[in-house]
């Protein structure tokens, strides 16, 4: 497993996909660390991101804003993004706000990696 770039952010790579774990409460402090970690992974050559929400109980407005920033960065880098293990309350929130139009929702990390691997075979045009 890769070393986390921030104190609270866990991450690891599977091929060219980075898996980043969100913390229990996605607020500004933890959110910005996750955003930095995602940027780092993309700069290191990752072509897809999985953000795993298995530990996340709550995402507030700040969390939503930061996730949109990550989606933005990923899109600009031509990278795909998947959210895995999102609880039903948060799924409802993401659907309501339109985040699900920009990401793949997966049951768990394994499913997310499988889905994204399909995109990895397609060459990225920057």
């Amino acid at each position: 497993m890769d070393k986390p770039s921030g104190l609270l952010v866990r991450s690891h790579c599977v091929g060219t996909t980075a898996v980043v774990y969100a913390s229990d409460y996605l607020n500004q402090l933890t959110g910005e660390k996750i955003e930095r970690e995602c940027r780092r992974q993309l700069n290191c050559g990752c072509r897809a991101l999985v953000i795993d929400f298995s530990d996340t109980k709550l995402v507030n407005s700040i969390g939503v804003s930061i996730l949109l920033g990550i989606i933005d960065v990923a899109e600009k880098n031509g990278a795909k993004i998947a959210f895995s293990d999102v609880n039903s309350q948060t799924v409802q929130l993401f659907e309501m706000l339109g985040l699900t139009q920009h990401v793949v929702l997966a049951k768990d990390e394994r499913e997310a990696l499988l889905t994204l691997s399909e995109f990895e075979t397609t060459p990225i045009v920057h």
Partner: protein
């Protein structure tokens, strides 16, 4: 849960968080940054920025997905600011072309390049504090009237937060200016007092520097007794001014090169009360300076003047000035006698503690001097005032140690006046 209910809960949560953030007393930039995230996250807006209006400039405080470069390109005129006061929200939609806002029209293309969809002014008390730039919704939907309401409410909140912060900054700046002015006044006051002390001493050709030294001795004793900085400064001033009443005493009596007679002595003894009369009308920045001058010739046994007060009736400050005054008188040459030896002075202090001097005050002074003699104190202020030849001999330290022991031991004879 119905979608509208869920949306409402999400919005209320964000508004509550925003209120808390703005009411908090944290870092300004962090407050604006968090507020911006709350605003963007409420409607899931892809990007946004908050900028302050500084004259015609727009300075970014927080941005997300918007480059700072755009702010370097923007400038806003007074007329354009005025338009913000009268405009409708739809005027500030970048897509509604052409709106009535000249500012938006002027930069419409540039905003579009940055994918800015909406520009909202922050107006507090008829003043533009800044603008908020917002990107499109992640859902791709257009802004609904409800969205406008929400955005408007949140932008007003952020505007108030920025305005309040600026006000607090101004208050802090004024407070700092006042503090500096007060400090300057204190410096001027101290300098004036010292000049005054020199003028007092100039009247007596044999006691030059006496008031200055009494001020310094008093300060040293007060510090040793644990007084705070303000109190220490106050007693130093009292020391400088303790003899101000001598200005009204006949110069010939002050300068008499012989032991003065009873009538002359009575005239001289007027000086503490006269000093009080001079000092009392002045609004000193420190407490009790006139009283310290008035009572610096009082004695614990009630045989002092002008009122014959006893121990507890005498302010501690006056007891300190009294000791400093006597110590300087004993350790400096006078026209009719040489200064006394240190052994003699210590004997006098021991004998008169409890009758003339307060034992605790004498002990404090002895401790301060002992620290200098033993090298425990970096500064050698007392020894400097006494002159390098005065404290000679190996028994100085022992004399002081014995004096302190005698004065601090329970049931000391020195306290027998009680």
């Amino acid at each position: 849960m119905e979608l509208s209910t869920q949306k409402l809960i999400h919005t209320f949560g964000a508004l509550a968080d925003l209120g808390q953030e703005i009411a908090g007393r944290g870092d300004f930039t962090e407050m604006v940054r968090t507020s911006m995230h709350l605003l963007l996250g409420t409607l899931a807006l892809r990007r946004g920025a908050v900028a302050e209006c500084v004259e015609s400039e727009l300075r970014p405080v927080a941005s997300w997905g918007v480059t700072d470069q755009i702010f370097r390109e923007l400038s806003i005129s007074c007329e354009e600011k005025q338009e913000f006061h009268t405009g409708e929200v739809s005027d500030f939609l970048i897509s509604s072309s052409p709106g009535s806002s000249n500012f938006v029209n002027r930069y419409r293309e540039r905003f579009a390049q940055e994918e800015i969809a909406l520009l909202l002014p922050m107006i507090v008390r008829d003043e533009i504090t800044g603008v908020v730039l917002l990107g499109r919704k992640a859902s791709g939907e257009e802004f609904s009237p409800d969205d406008f309401e929400t955005v408007h409410a949140m932008v007003r909140h952020i505007g108030v937060g920025i305005h309040t912060h600026r006000l607090l900054e101004q208050v802090a700046q004024r407070a700092e200016e006042n503090r500096r002015l007060y400090e300057e006044l204190r410096t001027i006051y101290r300098a004036t007092v010292r000049s005054f002390a020199a003028a007092i001493d100039a009247k007596d050709k044999y006691t030059q520097g006496h008031s200055e030294r009494v001020g310094r001795y008093s300060e040293i004793i007060a510090r040793e007794l644990g007084w705070n900085e303000d109190e220490v400064e106050g007693i130093q001033i009292a020391g400088y001014l303790h003899d101000v009443g001598k200005l009204v005493v006949d110069r010939d009596i002050i300068n008499a090169p012989y032991n003065i007679n009873a009538k002359e002595s009575s005239e001289l003894n007027r000086h503490p009360a006269a000093g009080y009369e001079i000092l009392a009308p002045i609004n000193h920045p420190y407490a009790d300076i006139p009283l310290m001058a008035k009572y610096h010739h009082e004695r614990l046994d009630g045989r002092g003047y002008p009122e014959g007060l006893r121990d507890e009736q005498i302010p501690l400050g006056a007891k300190i000035v009294s000791l400093a005054d006597s110590f300087d008188a004993m350790t400096t040459d006078r026209p009719y006698r040489r200064r006394r030896s240190f052994e003699d002075v210590v004997r006098d202090l021991r004998e008169n503690s409890g009758t003339q001097f307060d034992g605790k005050v004498v002990a404090a002074f002895a401790r301060a001097l002992l620290k200098e003699v033993n090298g425990q104190s970096k500064e050698r202020r007392i020894t400097k005032m006494l002159g390098k030849d005065y404290l000679q001999g190996e028994n100085i330290s022992m004399l002081l140690t014995d004096l302190i022991t005698d004065l601090t031991s329970v049931g000391s004879g020195a306290q027998s006046y009680k």
